[in-house]
């Protein structure tokens, strides 16, 4: 059986370097299998994050040969001949080896104004398949955060993280905005606080999405249109100008709290 060389980044926040491991290649293996075999033999403390090993949980994101991929869904025989390089996602601070601190995303999740539905009628809500389908597309997101990793706005400009939600959360906002039951309005909040305008629709996020969600076309562009419509509507502008005087935080203007 052929051998393969894995070049895996080892280190922590203080620095690190690539270490090479050479081992036999087994038929049908994915990258995560090989990482596990290295853990079980040469490097028992090699840190990587994983859970389901089935492409469903989005834990094992890493940059394989420079491209963000799920280690559990990348077959070794799909990669070109030669050494395979695995590095942690670059946009997030390293904890150790392949494990990064993705808490940025969990902070952004806390800031999403929740669904605000009308009271539920007896027997449940009536919604039609064609009305839930778009939201269902966005809810396929497994939160692998590879779209965040690859987004230039935060990958290349650390400072932008302060005022940018990123593609994962734009599809979350889009899902809520297009939800048949939702009565909240997050458009101004998205523009002012979540940095929707920073996205220049290069579609890098869409390209890396393992769930093939059309992030740019189906979520970000329609959101941008809605935000523009809301912002440049003269009546809405007048309303904002009056309200702004007593506005204490972004979250209390057009956006209502969760039920």
């Amino acid at each position: 059986m052929a051998e393969v060389t894995m070049r895996i980044w080892r280190g922590d926040a203080s620095g690190g370097e690539f270490a090479s491991y050479t081992l036999a290649q087994n038929e049908g293996e994915v990258v995560l299998d090989v990482v596990h075999r290295i853990q079980a033999t040469d490097a028992p403390d090699l840190a990587c994050r994983w859970n389901c090993k089935a492409g469903k949980c989005g834990s094992c994101s890493a940059e394989i040969n420079g491209k963000p991929r799920l280690m559990c869904m990348t077959r070794m025989d799909s990669l070109p001949e030669g050494p395979v390089t695995i590095a942690p996602m670059r946009t997030f601070p390293v904890i150790r080896d392949l494990v990064t601190d993705v808490s940025f995303n969990f902070v952004r999740a806390q800031q999403v104004p929740a669904l605000l539905p009308p009271p539920m009628p007896e027997g449940g809500y009536v919604m039609f398949q064609e009305d839930v389908e778009r939201g269902q597309e966005f809810r396929q997101c497994i939160e692998c955060f590879m779209c965040q990793d690859v987004c230039h706005v935060i990958r290349d400009h650390e400072g932008n993280k302060q005022h940018y939600a990123g593609p994962r959360f734009f599809i979350r906002y889009a899902e809520l905005e297009m939800h048949p039951l939702d009565q909240n309005d997050r458009r101004e909040y998205l523009r002012e606080e979540m940095g929707l305008g920073y996205c220049n629709i290069t579609k890098c996020c869409t390209e890396v999405c393992p769930e093939h969600i059309k992030i740019t076309d189906n979520a970000i562009i329609p959101l941008k249109e809605r935000v523009v419509d809301a912002h440049y509507d003269p009546l809405a502008w007048l309303g904002r100008a009056i309200r702004r005087k007593r506005k204490v935080s972004a979250a209390d203007a057009d956006v209502q709290p969760a039920p």
Binding site: Q39, P44, K56, I95, A114, M120
Partner: protein, 604 residues
Amino acid sequence: MTDTYEHHDYDVLIIGAGGAGLRAAIEAKQRGLRVAIVTKSLLGKAHTVMAEGGMAAALGNVYPEDNWQVHFRDTMRGGKYLNNYRMAELHAKEAPARVLELEQWGALFDRTPTGKILQRDFGGHRYARLAHVGDRTGLELIRTLQQKVVSMGTDVFMECKVLRLVHDDSGRAAGAVAYWRATGEFVTFAAKAVVLATGGLGKSWEFTSNSWECTGDGHAMALWAGARLIDMECVQFHPTGMVWPLSVRGLLVTEGVRGDGGVLRNSEGQRFMFNYVAPMFRDETAESEEEGDRWYEDHNAGRRPPELLPRDEVARAINAEVKAGRGSPHGGVFLDIATRRSPEFIRRRLPSMYHQFMELAGVDITREAMEIGPTCHYAMGGVQVDADTAATAVPGLFAAGEVAGGMHGANRLGGNSLSDLVVFGRRAGMAAADWAESGGAATSMDGGEVEAAVAAALAPFEREAGESPYDVHHALQQMMQANVGIIRTQSELDEAKERLVGFTERVNNVRVTGGRAYNPGWNLATDLPSMITVSRCVTEGARLRTESRGGHTREDFPTADDRLGTLNFAQTCPGGAWDGEYRIEESPLLTMPAELKALLEEAH
């Protein structure tokens, strides 16, 4: 003690962030209490995310004749009557409300033409009953609950692994000791009430659908803390796991494939399930392929095909076909939906399965049959609880979800797990909140227990020589797969029992190298005592249950035994030491009220 380690105080501490833990948190948080969720993974990654087919609830949206009574009956029959009847009753009654409330929190289920929640067929359910979103229902459930929990401002401690429960000086649950995976530093949580929602234990077997997290931590910690584990011998081997390539062997293939028309064939192309219909299910199962096919269109035009018998029946049949030499090239059988449904239908109804086979096995399921075989999937057994409150034998300790036992008896029906999580997660959250407010709760933690847990966790670093935790784990998985698998027999179980004594010694001699920060070898070393504990309990229960019932099949006792059908085996750990003595005793089933008994006897 509280000066030595990072310390937190809460009213309700919830261990585990899958469906049950999150639902418990919502309930306790709504009461205005201080609630913490501690999870050894990131939020939203728990094993719940892997559930595929749906959540069972008698909403009656597709078949209006469905109701809680029929759901109750199906659950009890599926469990071969070993269930805690009161749990099955509460589950059947409350599941519809629990499904509907998810939509208030943002869930988007697939719809019927009239805009209601669509329901799909699954094994053992008389009517199409599973609310679902394609084949990613678990993702929808966990995301909905996660988003609700976050919007309520609940404290979530991620990648923080609980090592031991801690009592107060009078034996009440008082909190837990844990460690941060990122730094390796210890942390203590004091709480008035503790809810265990730690999920399953499949990682003691070699071929399993379970994620790495399913190491039986909660089962083990509850046992060590003084709770009772019941029905541990009842482990479900799901009939359809992937068998090839080897690296994904065990990965789940949803029962929805069969619910949506897929059939099982052997190497001769025969639909062999018609040869394996047990007498108990004969009246309600189709006799011919034509009758089974009519049923898919209209459940009143024929009886259900035998591919949709409960999981234990199907798994045993597959096992028998392979043994008889009629298996597929890689030791499974064929699951065929390609010849029965259009490619568009398959891709719409089963998108994850399409994706999973295409990317991992290079198989296009719209054109070819899948190769599948049984995989260790679910623990019916678990912590014995009071049905109404999820309370365990330890005051202040509650358990919900897969870690709790009783709800599913000897075999769980597909779809009953997700509904179990929200029904009993909510009840555990309510009861934990009641306990926390009652004034009877613990107010101090036993410092000695904390120190003992920390010392045990650090011991593998201090050994100068010793075995790799990975080697011990792998050997354990192979041994359990070989000796305590889907078909069991006395001599193999006896051998397993003896070998587990050796494994206990090996775990006490494990050596970990490297630092404490995010060290997966160390984390595995802390999982091993739990895995050995649950392996011991499964083996001991299987030795004593000298009959075949549900998920527990004895080659040497192939039929059910009436007397054993009236009792659970309950296990305890009197000294609290994981490597010490455990006891097992017979524990009679609850007596079912006459009106519920009558439901079981009704013709279908």
